[in-house]
């Protein structure tokens, strides 16, 4: 993982805006909010409060610009952002220029041009020929009155058409008028009535619109200066971009402190670009700055560079990040997580047939995602598409454990359990969980012991990486305690014979349980004090018990999965691996139910085993992702 350095910068106040602007362009640093640690500066420096006023001013300008866009019926996001030249001027000066230019813009005059263009657009879209209209119709007073009402309705209709996103007005009107009303609710019906009226009154609209157009042309004629709508729009877009950027800069400056003439700020910067960042600051401030760079202090919360997950591990990456990013210097468990997650899931969801369905679904989702269908459909579809590869992995795992537990759409008898071997009293496969639940329980605890030991190995690596050499022996002792306790449990025939641990097995108990606990107490005591050591030792003892017991859920959920499938096998009349024809719909319904309900429960429990029992050993999840300041 890339190392971070801390920059401490003191800049002359006149150049601070240029410096922040330049850092925003290069996106190299993440500013530290110094105000969170007042003990570092209080009494010597004061918060940079000028910034708050600037932010208010920026917000005012932005709302003015947005109003202008609204009155001209322009959607600013439909146009590309204009390029803004880099300036070295202070924010106040930039904003004053924008204010001046904004006041000069002939917004009111431009409105009439915008209106003319909209009238043309409506005339065109409802297919009225102005000449014909004028010759044929003269409106009475009553018709005029009615027209006013219709005009209002037309405006409302037009707004709705825009909201729905139908650019072609005719399409909507024809669609509703031709009574394809099934898709429309109350509003739809209302507009259907209106649409009929609109078509009936099209001639009146024509007359009214043509009159309106003439009036607009007359007003246009009175405007002396020549106005280009495009130019005004371009200026507004540029001002909007400038003010947005300046606002971002002002918001960042809120993290700074100042003296009478200088501004002080701190920032994180990746080791490899420190030189580049310093050069940028010096250049922007024309040498009027003092910069020091240093390694992070012991109690600093250093941001971490978050690496992008490879596509095939994307789902696991999201699950890991949902818990929290690795802290600075910690090992990233993503790849190990991507191996252990499918294994634990597969144990609880062991089934050859259902595993194969997972693989097919996974491949399908992956292909759809790669074809760019990620944004189609709702949240659930998006989650499934992102999880494509993960479904394939858990499918393979379910098939593997399906073979060793003899499950094919449940304990149907199609596959006989395959024994992989025995490790002491732990039998790896070769039994049906529902028939021999005790063997399954032992297997579950055994898997738990291995899983937690892997977590402790990662803790060991973390301690070495952090150079906490005094704490390095603790994970080793913990593994010793863990494996030792499991061995005791298995050797003396389960928890019911616990009395033997303190009788004939007292030396074994001392060596495998007490000794590692004492060593943990000593090592923690040396590193952090003996009271902390005592507390931590009790915590280790309790966690060893509760976390290993927690893995018994592998057995419980495995049994439930098997039992639920078994229920549908019985209902379908499946016997000795023979599936009668009438059982197929029942098995299909059962599989769908099991895969959705059981799949979700097993998924959450697998996640829980990782988040609580596994991550708690080595992964604090307290890492802050490095987000450099970037003015957009």
């Amino acid at each position: 993982m890339e190392k971070m350095r801390k920059l401490k910068v003191m800049v002359h106040e006149d150049y601070i805006d240029a410096v922040v602007r330049s850092l925003g362009q290069t996106a190299l640093v993440q500013f530290i909010d110094i105000r969170e640690k007042p003990e570092d500066w209080e009494g010597i420096l004061v918060p940079y409060s000028a910034s708050t006023e600037v932010i208010k001013k920026c917000s005012d300008f932005l709302s003015k610009i947005e109003n202008a866009f609204k009155s001209l019926h322009i959607q600013p996001d439909d146009f590309p952002s204009p390029e803004i030249p880099i300036t070295k001027e202070p924010i106040e000066k930039v904003l004053a220029t924008v204010e001046h230019k904004l006041a000069e813009l002939p917004i009111e005059e431009v409105k009439i041009y915008a209106l003319a263009s909209r009238i043309d657009h409506i005339i065109e879209s409802i297919g009225i020929k102005p000449d014909v209209v004028e010759k044929e119709y003269a409106l009475t007073q009553a018709e005029e009155k009615e027209l006013e009402h219709i005009e209002f309705e037309l405006i409302e209709l037009d707004k709705t058409i825009q909201t729905i996103g139908l650019a072609n007005h005719d399409l909507l009107i024809n669609k509703i008028a031709s009574k394809h009303l099934e898709d429309y609710d109350e509003i739809g019906r209302m507009f259907a009535e209106l649409a009929k009226f609109v078509i009936k009154s099209r001639r009146y609209f024509g007359k009214r619109l043509v009159t309106l157009k003439k009036t607009v042309e007359e007003i246009e004629g009175t405007i002396e200066t020549e106005i280009n709508l495009k130019e005004v729009r371009g200026s507004l877009l540029t001002f909007r971009e400038i003010v947005k950027k300046e606002k971002q800069i002002a918001e960042e400056k809120e993290k700074f402190v100042k003296s009478s003439q200088t501004v002080f700020f701190e920032a994180w910067v990746p080791d490899i670009v420190v030189k580049h960042a310093i050069e940028g600051i010096m250049q922007a401030s024309e040498g009027n700055s003092i910069i020091t760079e240093e390694a992070p202090a012991e109690n600093d919360r250093v941001p971490v560079m978050v690496k992008e997950c490879p596509g095939y591990l994307q789902a696991f990456g999201k699950l890991e990040c949902a818990y929290g990013h690795p802290s600075e210097g910690d090992i990233d468990p993503l790849r190990v997580f991507a191996i252990t997650f499918p294994i634990l899931f597969g144990i609880m969801f062991a089934d050859v047939a259902q595993g194969a369905i997972f693989i097919i679904a996974g491949i399908l989702f992956t292909l759809l995602r790669r074809k760019g269908k990620l944004d189609d459909g709702g949240d659930i579809i998006r989650y499934l598409l992102v999880s494509g590869e993960m479904l394939v992995y858990i499918g393979f795992s379910a098939i593997f454990f399906g073979f060793i537990f003899g499950e094919f759409f449940g304990p149907s008898g199609v596959i006989h359990p395959i024994t992989l071997g025995n490790i002491g009293p732990f039998q790896i496969g070769g039994f049906e969980p529902t028939q021999e639940p005790m063997k399954m329980l032992k297997f579950a605890i055994f898997v738990g012991a291995i899983h937690i030991s892997i977590g402790l190995v990662l803790k060991f690596i973390n301690e070495i990486k952090h150079k906490h050499y005094k704490l390095v022996p603790i994970p080793i002792c913990w593994i010793w305690l863990f494996i030792g306790s499991i061995f005791m449990w298995a050797y003396w025939g389960g928890i019911s014979n616990i009395s033997k641990w303190f009788g004939e097995g007292v030396f074994m108990f001392g060596g495998l349980v007490m000794l590692p606990l004492i060593l943990i107490f000593i090592f923690t005591g040396i590193a952090e004090g003996f009271m902390e050591g005592l507390g931590f030792t009790v915590e280790v003892f309790a966690e060893t018990l509760s976390h290993s017991m927690s893995y018994s859920r592998l057995m419980a959920l495995g049994l439930i999965h098997s039992a639920m499938n078994y229920l549908f096998l019985v209902l379908g009349g499946v016997e000795h691996g023979v599936f009668p024809l009438q059982s197929i719909p029942l098995i299909a319904i059962g599989t769908i139910l099991v895969m959705i309900i059981e799949g979700l429960v097993v998924f959450v429990h697998t996640l829980r085993l990782h988040w609580v029992e596994w991550f708690s050993k080595f992964h604090s999840g307290e890492g802050i992702p490095f987000k450099p300041f970037k003015s957009t």
Binding site: A322, S546, S550, S552, V601, R608, G621
Partner: protein, 148 residues
């Protein structure tokens, strides 16, 4: 008392109480979740853990009920009938306790995460430890049934 009736009471407890516990948990956490979903829908995928862990309580009851159902033909004596009853009581009490824990800490977790999402990883401990209570009960109930 008839051993059959006693074991059937055990079975009814084993399925009834965990389902009730799961329902209470889902009602409390589900409504809290729905409230947060309107404000911060991006947190739903993380917070759904509260509802799913609540639902798992019913599954534990289902497992014990299944096992008792399988043992019913073997229950002929008062001793084995009492064991079936006790197994039902154990899983009922354990899931009831877990439901109380998940409901309280789950709804608080949802509210706290909505305010400060970074507190999720610490606050989720309360929910998962409450759920572990049901697992302990499940294990013992399971062992009691093994004795029948």
């Amino acid at each position: 008392m008839d051993p059959n009736l006693i074991s059937l009471i055990g079975l009814a407890l084993a399925i009834g109480v965990p389902i009730l516990s799961a329902a209470i948990t889902i009602i409390i956490c589900g409504t809290a979740l729905a409230g947060i979903g309107t404000e911060k829908p991006e947190l739903l995928s993380r917070l759904i853990i509260t509802v799913v862990l609540g639902e798992a309580l019913a599954i534990y009851g289902l497992l014990i009920a299944f096992m008792l159902l399988g043992k019913l033909p073997n229950i002929t004596t008062m001793e084995s009938a009492n064991m079936a009853l006790i197994a039902g009581v154990i899983i009922s009490v354990a899931t009831g306790a877990a439901a109380a824990g998940i409901s309280y800490s789950g709804s608080s977790l949802i509210a706290a995460t909505a305010e400060k999402p970074e507190t999720f990883s610490s606050n989720v401990i309360g929910v998962v430890l409450s759920e572990a209570l049901a697992i302990y009960g499940l294990l013992i109930a399971f062992m009691v049934i093994g004795q029948i």
